[in-house]
Symmetry: C2
Subunit: 141 residues, 2 copies
DNA sequence: CCATTATAGTCAGGGAAGCTTACCAAGCAA
DNA sequence: TTGCTTGGTAAGCTTCCCTGACTATAATGG
């Protein structure tokens, strides 16, 4: 069966995502997949919930409830946005930063494996092609 | 921000999947995303619900309830499996085959767009790399 | 042939995700 | 000031997908 390239991407992405979530669980971080996906979009200086919602293609209510769950779990904290009294910035708390380190480590391991399997040249080419594809496929550029 | 290759794949896949689902909706097929994903795995001669569950990485209960929804919608029919009295084969019904045609058409349009953007050579290379990656990333070969 | 185990599937119940509709409060612009 | 936009919350619902328990058929090993 000849699979569509998008399905091949889905398979690889699902594998990587599963690996990262497993690593987080193994390290004792009890994040759900949706929580982890949202948390991954939080910028170093904090991000507004509305912005997280847009990027993740969720309603702000959905994003809001995920942020709340992350806050209860100690992964993030919400602080007032100095530039807009209506808004609050969602920032990684210490617990969240430790989880991020675990995730980053697993991400790097995955990259090494893919690179070893494909060869450095072909892997670099793959990344380059995916980056170019993003131009026509990602509404957030 | 330098995104992980798996995230780039996620973005492209989400785009393609959204396009296909939108095309189905525009053509009057009221499938949910999960239903469509499962239906996409049904083979030309029918597939057992348990097998669909395995491939989609769902429990058989979850797959079963999606199949039931697809049956209610007229997309699939369940027929006895001649080779095993416990099992039933899930097959695309006429309505499902028409939906499949819409999905296939959109899939081909996406391939053409990606190929046009990347160039035939680079696109072929991308597909080749994704296929090789599948060897280490797909538990179903 | 019978006892055991594996496989295909269902039923019941529940939690998480994410939607719609409706709302409030702060900023912004006429 | 009036009204529009924007950041966020509240309530209620559907869909998805899980666990646990169960039935029925199939396959296997004495």
């Amino acid at each position: 069966m000849q699979l569509h390239p998008a399905v091949l991407m889905f398979i690889a992405h699902r594998h990587a995502e599963g690996r990262i979530l497993d690593a987080l669980h193994a390290a004792g971080f009890d994040l759900t997949l949706s929580q982890a996906r949202l948390a991954a979009r939080i910028g170093p200086d904090g991000t507004r919930a509305t912005e997280l919602a847009e990027q993740a293609q969720l309603t702000k209510q959905s994003a809001g409830s995920l942020v709340e769950a992350l806050e209860v779990g100690g992964y993030v904290e919400r602080v007032p946005d100095p530039s807009d009294a209506r808004a609050r910035l969602v920032r990684l708390a210490e617990h969240g930063k430790r989880a991020q380190q675990v995730a980053r480590r697993e991400e790097r391991a995955i990259v090494r494996e893919w690179e070893a399997h494909l060869g450095a040249r072909r892997f670099a080419d793959l990344v380059e092609s995916l980056g170019r594809l993003r131009e026509i496929v990602d509404p957030y550029q």
